[in-house]
Symmetry: D2
Amino acid sequence: MASRHYPAPELDVSEWIGTPHTLEELRGKVVLIETFQMLCPGCVRYGLPQAQKVHRAFPQVTVLGLHTVFEHHEVTGVDALKVFLSEFRMTFPVGIDRQDGGMLPVTMRKYGLEGTPSTLVVDREGGLALSHFGQLDDLALGAVLGQVMADGRNE
Amino acid sequence: MASRHYPAPELDVSEWIGTPHTLEELRGKVVLIETFQMLCPGCVRYGLPQAQKVHRAFPQVTVLGLHTVFEHHEVTGVDALKVFLSEFRMTFPVGIDRQDGGMLPVTMRKYGLEGTPSTLVVDREGGLALSHFGQLDDLALGAVLGQVMADGRNE
Amino acid sequence: MASRHYPAPELDVSEWIGTPHTLEELRGKVVLIETFQMLCPGCVRYGLPQAQKVHRAFPQVTVLGLHTVFEHHEVTGVDALKVFLSEFRMTFPVGIDRQDGGMLPVTMRKYGLEGTPSTLVVDREGGLALSHFGQLDDLALGAVLGQVMADGRNE
Amino acid sequence: MASRHYPAPELDVSEWIGTPHTLEELRGKVVLIETFQMLCPGCVRYGLPQAQKVHRAFPQVTVLGLHTVFEHHEVTGVDALKVFLSEFRMTFPVGIDRQDGGMLPVTMRKYGLEGTPSTLVVDREGGLALSHFGQLDDLALGAVLGQVMADGRNE
């Protein structure tokens, strides 16, 4: 079955904290990407805890963080981010979205994200099943994950 | 595709508050059945609110309540139940599980339920996809609903 | 020091579940009275749990429940109430506000309460330090209790 | 009335973000001091939100933050802290606890704090009414504030 979803653009990451990944290499798996900034309250309060909860509850889902910095670059560099991830006990790999001098980092622009936190779900065929900006209900996120986990399971 | 799940036993209901339903008639739909007692704290605190949330969030899921009384019969009759459902704003149909003089009402026995609240999910082919006693995380329930909504969608 | 508060009217209770009390006899103590109806969602969700929490956290505060029924009398009688209090693990004494045929029960009328849940705090001199209808923040309730506990402590 | 509490040590602050304060100057007022580190999860999740809530709910209480850094100094300097306070909408003055090369900053040592977050309440006479490490229930904090607000009110 061809995916019903548009292809998810490849991640453009300048550095990984944890194991590096590409979406191409993850074809065949369900992927959740949590895009965030370490000093964004909504990311800290609900986006990242929800991603961590998915990481724990669904071993069959690959969870990635993407640090999409578009403000306060000077105090949210890689050293600060490493401390943050360790203190807040985030255990999934986190990529740093590439900066090319534009207003927004590259991957964030390719996905047309409105801000942080944004939650992305990529299906087994690399289609973008969800792109949600802001707080996302667990019941709704669970249903999206359940559907893309079911899709292509027997194919 | 044949359901991977055991067939869900038919409901045995002595009276409906709201539109009556049978599982047989609901074949082809995803059904969530919330079994509860009106004076059970866990039912009031999380089971019923979660069922009501599913009812609101997923119009494609048929939500039913099942009043499976096994204690305090004398103060949880149909008149009390009607007041309770109205005050607590439960808007899905509720069946009263048949009493035949046994310790537990009939449908509760057929499903082998351990207590209240128990949440049941029936897939499109009438298979029992979930039978969970006690508090159930929204993320986990969402995933089950997402999977059974995906199953048989194109068949 | 004379209380800065108006005198709290005496309770008019037709029956007690647990040890009977009068405000007169409780002079010198801080008293919290949680007025409720057993099938009122706000009472079950926040009023009564908060009263129970005060009962556990502040042994020096006397906590009482008052069942102020003004609707659905037929299904919220004393037998139903006893089951409810036992199932919901309310461990403080509960009085049943006297019915005299008026729209509202007698004590509820004397206090001019708007509805349920309403939380009342009576100071050591029998003054009404708080009468609050609806949800009440823990921080705000704590501050009222702290103030009336401090008042008259050394006198 | 002489305070029943030990005198709260004076704050030793190297720099203020917002209006500077000393406890000596605040004699006669109730003061809440929230000690925190900007990358400490418990501070972000409950300590600081609770302090902000007190700041909003009780205009008669002076709320101060104290940045007691004892780890990760290199990524939690004053520039990072200013961004953090602005993003997380903390509107009370924040002092930076003086570093003198010891393991812990100076004020933190003088108070014998175990870690962050720690919540301190200073009464009108400069006595230390509360020093609590970790999560603190709103009801309990409210009661302490209510008691120290009542103390010395009429003197």
